[in-house]
């Protein structure tokens, strides 16, 4: 086919569309003025302001704790679900599990949030647990929707993995549990890592579900940001965004480098 210029131009415009807003966020975080859209001079004052804002700092710490906890539980549960769906043959309830594990992926956040809140209220009324809402309820909610994503990642890795690797280990005298730890786990570990990172990011990013299931005094970072930016743009949020972007860029670049260095395990 003719290699015209139209295609690269559209593609470049597409990438520009994706990155221009992010770049502007970063640039204006170093702006002196309170206005985040008019450049007046270089300054780091918004970073200083950010770290002095105890509300943001404590919300960030809470969010990181929640994200790490729910990503870890979600990775364990998602791995088990992935194993159940690919390695255990047929069992009663397999279709139900398949449906339930992928449904949170397409469930609107407002519904997930609302339904979990109603559940927690009902559970508290019936069993007295979880008492009140906060860290625990957010972790439970985040684990539920994150495990769906982990399952997708782990499951597709397990499907790709040559079944005869497990069989070969078993053939050489390894019991099923041993096979899992010697062979399956090392081979799917890149999927577990990316699943965990995905879950961590999703949890850290979630505003809607957390808003429903959090209680007083347990505002997550997105909730604090949302209440700030609802009123308009504010340069310390730019500073925060820049920090997040830099961390993510380093993380992704590192993961890519690590992934390229590591041979493909098939």
């Amino acid at each position: 086919m003719r290699r015209g210029l139209a295609l690269p131009i559209i593609a470049v415009l597409g990438f520009a569309f994706l990155y221009a807003p992010i770049i502007s966020l970063v640039v204006f975080s170093f702006n002196e003025s309170r206005l985040v859209t008019v450049w007046t001079g270089f300054s780091l004052q918004w970073y200083a302001a950010l770290f002095q804002d105890s509300q943001i700092v404590s919300a960030a710490i809470l969010s990181l704790q929640i994200a790490a906890t729910s990503a870890t539980i979600a990775t364990v549960l998602g791995t088990l679900a992935g194993l159940a769906l690919t390695r255990l043959g047929r069992f009663r309830g397999k279709t139900a599990l398949t449906g339930m594990v992928s449904a949170p992926l397409v469930m609107p956040e407002v519904i997930t949030g609302l339904s979990l809140l109603l559940l927690f209220v009902a559970m508290e009324a019936t069993f007295g647990w979880p008492s009140g809402r906060g860290f625990t309820t957010i972790v439970l909610a985040h684990t539920t929707f994150c495990m769906a994503y982990v399952t997708v990642v782990v499951r597709s890795r397990l499907i790709d993995m040559d079944r005869s690797l497990d069989e070969a280990a078993m053939d050489l005298g390894a019991t099923p549990l041993r096979v899992f730890f010697d062979i399956t786990l090392p081979i799917i570990s890149p999927a577990l890592i990316s699943g965990w990172l995905l879950a961590f990011t999703l949890s850290l990013d979630d505003l809607v579900i957390a808003s429903f299931v959090s209680g007083p005094g347990s505002s997550t970072l997105p909730m604090v940001i949302f209440s700030k930016i609802r009123l308009g743009v504010s340069p310390d949020v730019n500073a925060l965004a820049t920090i997040i972007i830099v961390v993510v860029a380093i993380g992704v670049a590192g993961a890519t480098w690590f992934g390229m260095r590591k041979p493909k395990n098939r």
């Binding site: 040559d162 005869s164 690797l165 069989e167 070969a168 280990a169 078993m170 053939d171 050489l172 005298g173 390894a174 019991t175 041993r178 010697d182 062979i183 090392p186 081979i187 041979p263 493909k264 395990n265 098939r266």
Partner: protein, 379 residues
């Protein structure tokens, strides 16, 4: 039927008193309503190199996987060395397998791949090291022991897979298409190597393959499988020269098949009238059949002779037109159209370098064969 006579002591399957090493009795495996393996009975003797030959979906791989313990048996029994395998999980069977994909652990070095089974056995470190060194030497992999599987060539991977499967000194080694992933030249070399290793170690091999040439050159005996059933079991020569059915005759090598009706049924010969062949077929030995019975006569292309002049005799001579000649170097394949519309393949060895008088296209030729050249098939 006449069979080649060779000392019976090297061929335990000819000895009615010999005790089989692997006994597969009435084994059936179903997946849903599909019969993957259908009532198969088969005995394999110690030191044999037994080939299961069949097309895809013939059930040969399923049978192998049942021997390894990866598939449960729907009905029937499998005994290995006198022990019933029904409730023995794969990791407790005295059997090892070489996988078609090799299934080398990608995160382990060659050395650790080979040592894996020995470690599971709980052998002392020194003994494991000795055994691994021995196998590296046997498979000529000493220089590659620290490499990961993805740093090896196809042939090297194949040898690692073999070494790993042999490491535990299994009583029975199962090989699933062991040469399937290699290119043609490498395959031929590896074939002989495999036989040599098998003879050196005296391990019983069961090989699954779809390649009839591979089966013929490797095997002590071949079991031809189709539709989950064993069609025929026999030594390579027996399978080729004395097929028991049209399927086996056609599956192993190429063959010309003529349908006909029995006209004479004597103790020392039979005569078949075949419209397809365009002549009478005279068979120089007795056959278990009845007059008027419809049966088939299978004759291999290299057992037929071409001539311009009609040879002497009243049977086993037909004629046709040469439609096509394919020159293959060592021999030529003639495609000849008989009057009946039947197309026949005849091969002739090119024993001289240049024959100006060779039979060529569009010639009318006579085709003849000896009275013991073909096999009479009733199914």
């Amino acid at each position: 039927m006449k069979k080649p006579q060779i000392a019976a002591d090297t061929r335990p399957w000819r000895d009615v008193d010999a005790k089989p090493f692997v006994r597969i009795a009435n084994v059936t495996k179903t997946f849903g309503d599909v019969y993957a393996v259908d009532d198969v009975s088969l005995d394999i003797y110690k030191g044999e190199l037994f080939c299961l030959l069949g097309g895809s979906g013939s059930g040969k791989s399923t049978l192998l996987r049942m021997l390894a313990g990866f598939e449960t048996i729907t009905s029937g029994t499998i005994e290995i060395d006198g022990q019933d395998m029904a409730n023995v999980p794969p990791y407790e069977r005295p059997v090892n397998m070489m996988f078609q994909s090799y299934a080398l652990f990608p995160h382990m070095s060659v050395e650790n791949n080979i040592a894996y089974g020995l470690k599971r056995e709980g052998l002392p470190k020194g003994e494991i090291a000795d055994r691994v060194a021995e196998l590296l030497k046997l498979t000529r992999l000493e220089n590659f022991k620290a490499r990961k599987p993805h740093q090896l060539s196809g042939g090297q991977r194949q040898r690692v897979a073999l070494a790993r499967a042999l490491a535990k000194r299994p009583k029975l080694l199962l090989l699933d298409e062991p040469l399937g992933a290699l290119d043609k030249k490498l395959r031929e070399d590896t074939q002989y190597e495999l036989v040599k290793i098998q003879e050196t170690l005296g391990v019983t091999f069961v090989v699954v393959t779809h390649d009839q040439e591979e089966a013929m050159s490797l095997a002590t005996r071949i079991g031809v499988m189709t539709d989950g059933k064993i069609a025929q079991i026999g030594e390579p020569q027996e399978i080729y020269e004395f097929p028991n059915s049209r399927f086996v005759a056609g599956f192993v090598g190429s063959v010309n098949m003529f349908e006909g009706t029995v006209t004479e049924d004597e103790d020392d010969h039979i005569r078949i009238a075949s419209q397809e062949a365009g002549c009478d077929i005279y068979v120089g030995h007795g056959v278990d059949c009845a007059p008027e019975q419809i049966l088939w006569y299978a004759v291999r292309p290299e057992k037929m002779v071409l001539s311009r002049e009609r040879p002497e005799g009243d049977a086993n001579i037909t004629h046709g037109f040469v439609q096509d000649v394919a020159y293959l170097g060592d021999m030529s394949v003639f495609r000849i159209l008989l009057d009946s519309g039947k197309r026949v393949h005849v091969t002739q060895t090119n024993s001289s370098r240049y024959d100006p008088d060779a039979i060529s296209w569009d010639e009318k030729v006579y085709i003849s064969w000896a009275s013991d050249a073909g096999a009479v098939l009733t199914s």
